[in-house]
Structures are given as structure tokens and as C-alpha cells.
Amino acid sequence: MKHFYKCLLTVWVLLLAVGLYGQNPNELRLNELLIINTEDFQDDFGVHSAWFEIFNTGYGTVDIGGCYLSNDPDNLKKYTIPRGDVLTKIRPRQHILFWADSKPHRGSFHVNFTLEESEVLILTSGDGTTIIDQVTLPKDLEPNQSYGRAVDGEGTYGVDADNTGWEILPRTSPSTNNFSLDGKSRSDLMKETDPYGWIMALLAMSVVFLALVLLTFVFKGTGKIALNLTQRKADAYGKTRKVSMAETSGEVFAAIATALHMYARENEVHDIETTILTIEQVRRNYSPWSSKGQSMRKTPSARK
């Protein structure tokens, strides 16, 4: 039994770990890069430098501070992204831009290497060993041409990343989506395809019915099982007559309970006699928060 509980606890911890995993930098992806910048996006100093973009694929804010960037597989910790900078927090489904100008003194987002002489770009997590994402830099990139994921965040990633999903992009898009939808929201599409709401009514009513029909069937089944169990219990007590709970309504039980209650009140019986059933409302005028007895259901005891 103890072994079972250990297994259960392990599974629970693992599930929790998976849940937490979703909130950490592993959601980040290298998303786009530009190696030779002569007339593209400028940094805050008005300089055209190589840049690369990181995208948060998750739906929670991720702080990239403490992670590492590098262009050298043998030195994953080449550039440490400073901790404590509020700007290193990447909001859900948003981007962050780094300048590969080898001028780290210009701020958190200027790394200490360039892309021109590099073969690879690597993003490593705060432990310094786990590669979150990496990309092999293309050799045939024209000046001011960017290379990125065709759809933001999609494609291979991590230590086994092989540039699947990456391509030369038709236009550069620093700090914005590489791929944009056609601008129509789901609501707009609904308006076009279903101007009078017939499709919505049909679909939605079908789903509502489906959900409740499923519940109906499940509880019909559960009801039958419950009745069988009750019957078995009754049989176990050696009753000769078949008892059907289906035939005994809640109203009957309510009537029996009321009769007992009234009988008890009329005769002013109390708890002292062991054979008398007393139904009375328990009133607590004190706060249960101050009562230890209320907060502990069972006194803990060591098992031997």
C-alpha cells in the first residue's frame, strides 16, 4: 500500500513538474535573425547592426534574465543576459530583440559577439548546460535579408534543432510576427460565413445537447450501478425481500424523517437514552477558525 502511495506521489510530482515547465524559459525560441545590416532596423544609438529575435511561445510572461547566448558550441555561457532588468521579461506571445554588435556595454540587449563570423546561434537556459534553442546560420544571406521561422515559434528547437521551419523571409520583421494572419478575426469570419447565425445555432445546440446527452447516459448507468450495489448490500444483510431504491422516493424518506423529528420533539426525548433518535440542529456560536478541534479531523499518530 505504501508503495502505491509513493507511486501516486511520484506521478503527481511529475505532473506538477510538467505544469511548471510551461512557465519557464523553455518556452522561448530563436525566431529571426539578420546578419548583414546596412539599411535595416537601427538600434537606440542609430547604428545598423546584426540582430536576432527571441519569441515567447507560451501564454505566461517569461523572464529571460540569467539565460545565456552564444555563437560557440564549446562556450555556451559566452553572453549572460543580465538579471534584474525589467525589460528582459517577455510577455506572452511577444518578441525581444538582441543586437549582435559585440558591444555589451551598450545595454542588456547588446551581446558580446557578432553574427558575421558565426556559424551557429545558441540560447541556453540559466543552468548553463541545457540548450533551449539553436540555429545554424545560413551562409548565403544577402545584406538586409533576414532568416527566420516561417511561422513564429514553429519548427524544430532545442539541442536537436536542424533549422526545420526556418527560411529566408520575404521581409524583415524585427520585434513583430514573421507570419501575420490576414487580419480577419474569428468574429469577422463568422460574420461572413454565417450572417444570420444559423450555423452557430445548429453547431452550438448540437454541442450543448452532446454534452448533456453524455451526462444523461453516464448517470443512467451510474444510477443502475448504484441500485445494484444497494441491492447487494441489502442481500448481504440477509434480507429476504427484494428492496428497490427506485421505488422508494425521496419524499418517502423526507416523510419518515419528519415523522421521527416530530415524534422526538413531542416527547421531549434527548440523547441520554441510547435507543432514542434525536434530530436537532447543531448551532455553533463561536468561530471555527479559532477552534483547533475544527481544523484537525484526526489526531495524527505514528504507525508501528
Binding site: 474569428r186 468574429s187 469577422d188 463568422m190 460574420k191 450572417p195 444570420y196 447565425g197 444559423w198 452557430m200 445555432a201 453547431l203 452550438a204 445546440m205 454541442v207 450543448v208 445537447f209 452532446l210 454534452a211 448533456l212 446527452v213 453524455l214 451526462l215 444523461t216 447516459f217 453516464v218 448517470f219 443512467k220 451510474t222 444510477g223 448504484a226 441500485l227 450495489l229 444497494t230 431504491m245 427506485a246 421505488e247 422508494t248 422516493s249 425521496g250 419524499e251 418517502v252 424518506f253 471555527p288 475544527q294 479531523r297
Partner: protein, 380 residues
């Protein structure tokens, strides 16, 4: 002297009297009307009194920039309104509803669940009508949910799909919920024959504790897997119910169905009322929303009643359902079930329909939450 006059003038400009418009007075009168309905007629007083008083608070004419109005960032009312805007309050109310609802009638006769599904047709009829009147799909979805007859669900969905219409939608939903005893009986009588109104239903069987415990867990799994977007409402509804039925979390259940739901009801009612500021509320759109809301209630009630009649075609004589419980598929708990009981007793003093009607009534709560999830999934 000039200084004193200037100061007095300035003071006058700050007062409500100087900034009053006809619309403010009208909204204050509507607020007083709500309070009167709550106190004199006792129609949903727990909702109408906070909403009505909130309307008065919200329509005290203010000099802009004092940081006291509900739409001025950082004001107390604005902070309280966050629970409505961001949809925190409705799921908490659902938790309380779950902790106070006994699903026994539903578990003992699961086919009543289908009535709760049928009554949701009012939502989609109002959705279509709203589109026809020129509302955008998102606004139409938020307006349609009024037909679910569920205030928290209406607030939750409109805060997501059409925040600008939230005040009108919430007030409309709660108003019609309060008017359920007036709206539903004529429709119920219109669509039923005298013979049908006299149908006596088989008493519900007793439900075991195990079944009651299984219900919230299985109910959540089935509904939330089908409509994950309804999770905040469905999750907390079934969680509240598990607190009640587990038997070992009595304190938590008592808090959820007592102090917690009371606190949230006060906050939601008051802030919804305050949000109905004249300049945002008194629009042609609001009038249309009220009209569409009435329509959705009527269609939902009719759909529930007619669906029972259709069901009866397939049921054996002893298992027939009284169509007067069809109205309770709209989830105004427990008012619509009470209407079934009252109308049923008008035709047979011994025919108590209340407990039978509670089945579709709570199914309506689940159904409207599922419908809200679908609308959210399609339109957000």
C-alpha cells in the same frame, strides 16, 4: 469678496447639481424603481437592491478627474469593477451555486438534463436576431446569453466579448430573471393543454451519496473536455458541488454558499449597477438589448416546454413528463422551478412539480455555462 465668490463658484461647479443632466435623473429614477421592485414586490431583492443602489451611485453627476468614478482608473469603484471586467466574480458565484445546489433530482432522472439543453435555444435565437439587427457577432453572442437566464454567465461572457455592453446586458439579464414569474406562466399555458398540465410525474428515487460525489467529477470531465472555454464557470460550479457532497469539507462548503457568495453578490450587483452611467447606458443599443433579452427569455421558455412535449411522444405512459417543468430549463435558479410549481398547483392542488423542475433548472445552469463556453470559443 471676489475670492469668496470665485471659491463658491468653483465649489458649485464641483457639485452634482451643476453637472446634472436629464439622463442622470432618469437613471436615478430607474435605480429607485429597481429598489422598489426588490422591496415591495420582493422580486430578486438580493440582486435588484444592490443593482438599483449601484445605479444611483453610478449616476451621481461627477466633475471629471476626481478619481471617484467607476471608469476612472484607480478609483475604489474602478478597482471593485475589475472583478466584473475581468470576469472574476461570476465563477466565484458559480462556486457558491454549486455548493448550495442539490443535483439529486437530476441524478435520479437524468433525462431531465435534456430539457436544460433545449432551453438554451433562446440564446441562439437571440444571437441570430441580434445579427439581423446589425450587431457584430461578438456583441450578438453576449446579448444572446441573456436567454440563458443566468446573471453571472451573462456578465462573464459579455466582459469577454462585448465589455461596452456589459452594463446593459447584466441589467437586462437580472431584470428578466426577476420578472420570470411574470414572463413565463403565459407562455407555459399557451403551449400546453389542460390534460398535459395535469400529468403527475413519478416520484424521484433516492440518490446515494456516492452518486452525488461522482456527479461533480464526471460532470466536470465530460462538459469541460467538450467545451474547455467554459472551464472557469463549469470548474467552479462542480468544485462547489463537490465541497457540498463530499461531506468532509463542510466548512468550505458553508463558506462558499454563505459568506463568499454573499460578498461576491454584493460586489457584482453594486458594480454592475454603478457601471450603468447615463452616458454609457442610455443608448439605442440598450433598448435593443432589452428587447432582444425579452425575446430570448420567451423563446427559451417556449423551447423548454415544447421539447418536453416532444419527449413525451417517446415516453411510456407512466413515465411522462409534465410540460410545465419545461420552462425551468432556463437557469434562473430556483425561480423558474418555483414558477413550475405555482402553475402546476393552479390546475391540481396535489401536483407538486418543484422537485421535478429543479432537475432541468440545474441542468440549465450547466447548459448555459456550456453555451457560454461555445460562444467564447467561436467568437473570442
Amino acid at each position: 469678496m471676489d475670492q469668496i465668490i470665485n471659491n463658491l463658484q468653483q465649489f458649485w461647479e464641483y457639485t452634482g447639481f451643476a453637472n446634472t443632466t436629464f439622463q442622470h435623473i432618469l437613471m436615478i429614477c430607474i435605480g429607485i424603481g429597481f429598489i422598489a421592485m426588490g422591496i415591495i414586490k420582493e422580486w430578486e431583492p438580493l440582486l435588484l437592491i444592490p443593482i438599483g443602489f449601484g445605479m444611483i451611485i453610478g449616476n451621481i453627476p461627477l466633475y471629471p478627474g476626481l478619481s471617484v468614478g467607476i471608469y476612472e482608473e484607480g478609483s475604489v469603484l474602478n478597482i471593485l469593477h475589475h472583478g466584473v471586467q475581468n470576469g472574476w466574480y461570476p465563477p466565484l458565484i458559480f462556486m457558491g451555486i454549486g455548493a448550495m445546489t442539490d443535483f439529486s433530482s437530476l441524478i435520479s432522472n437524468p433525462k431531465l438534463l435534456l430539457i436544460g439543453a433545449a432551453a438554451q435555444f433562446g440564446i441562439f435565437a437571440a444571437y441570430g436576431a441580434s445579427l439581423f439587427l446589425g450587431f457584430e457577432p461578438q456583441a450578438a453572442g453576449a446579448i444572446g446569453i441573456i436567454g440563458g437566464a443566468d446573471g453571472p454567465t451573462a456578465i462573464f461572457l459579455s466582459s469577454r466579448l462585448a465589455p461596452d455592453l456589459l452594463g446593459a446586458i447584466a441589467v437586462s439579464a437580472y431584470s428578466y430573471m426577476a420578472l420570470v414569474p411574470l414572463i413565463q406562466p403565459p407562455i407555459m399555458k399557451l403551449f400546453t393543454t389542460k390534460q398535459e398540465r395535469l400529468i403527475k410525474m413519478k416520484p424521484a428515487r433516492a440518490v446515494s451519496k456516492t452518486e452525488k460525489i461522482i456527479f461533480p467529477i464526471v460532470g466536470l470531465l465530460l462538459t469541460a473536455f467538450i467545451v474547455p472555454s467554459g472551464l472557469p464557470l463549469l470548474g467552479l460550479l462542480f468544485f462547489g458541488n463537490l465541497l457540498k457532497e463530499s461531506g468532509v469539507t463542510r466548512r468550505l462548503a458553508e463558506t462558499a454558499r454563505g459568506p463568499l457568495i454573499d460578498v461576491v453578490t454584493i460586489l457584482i450587483g453594486l458594480t454592475v449597477g454603478v457601471s450603468t452611467q447615463a452616458d454609457k447606458f442610455l443608448q439605442v443599443e440598450s433598448v435593443l438589448i432589452f428587447g432582444l433579452g425579452a425575446m430570448s427569455f420567451i423563446v427559451a421558455t417556449a423551447a423548454g416546454v415544447l421539447f418536453v412535449k416532444v419527449m413525451n411522444l417517446f415516453l411510456k405512459p407512466g413515465n411522462k413528463i409534465n410540460p410545465l417543468i419545461g420552462n425551468s430549463g432556463v437557469s434562473a435558479v430556483p425561480d423558474s422551478a418555483r414558477v413550475s410549481e405555482i402553475v402546476g398547483l393552479q390546475y391540481d392542488r396535489t401536483n407538486h412539480l418543484l422537485m421535478h423542475a429543479m432537475g432541468p433548472n440545474v441542468a440549465g445552469v450547466i447548459g448555459s455555462a456550456v453555451a457560454a463556453g461555445i460562444l467564447l470559443g467561436f467568437l473570442s
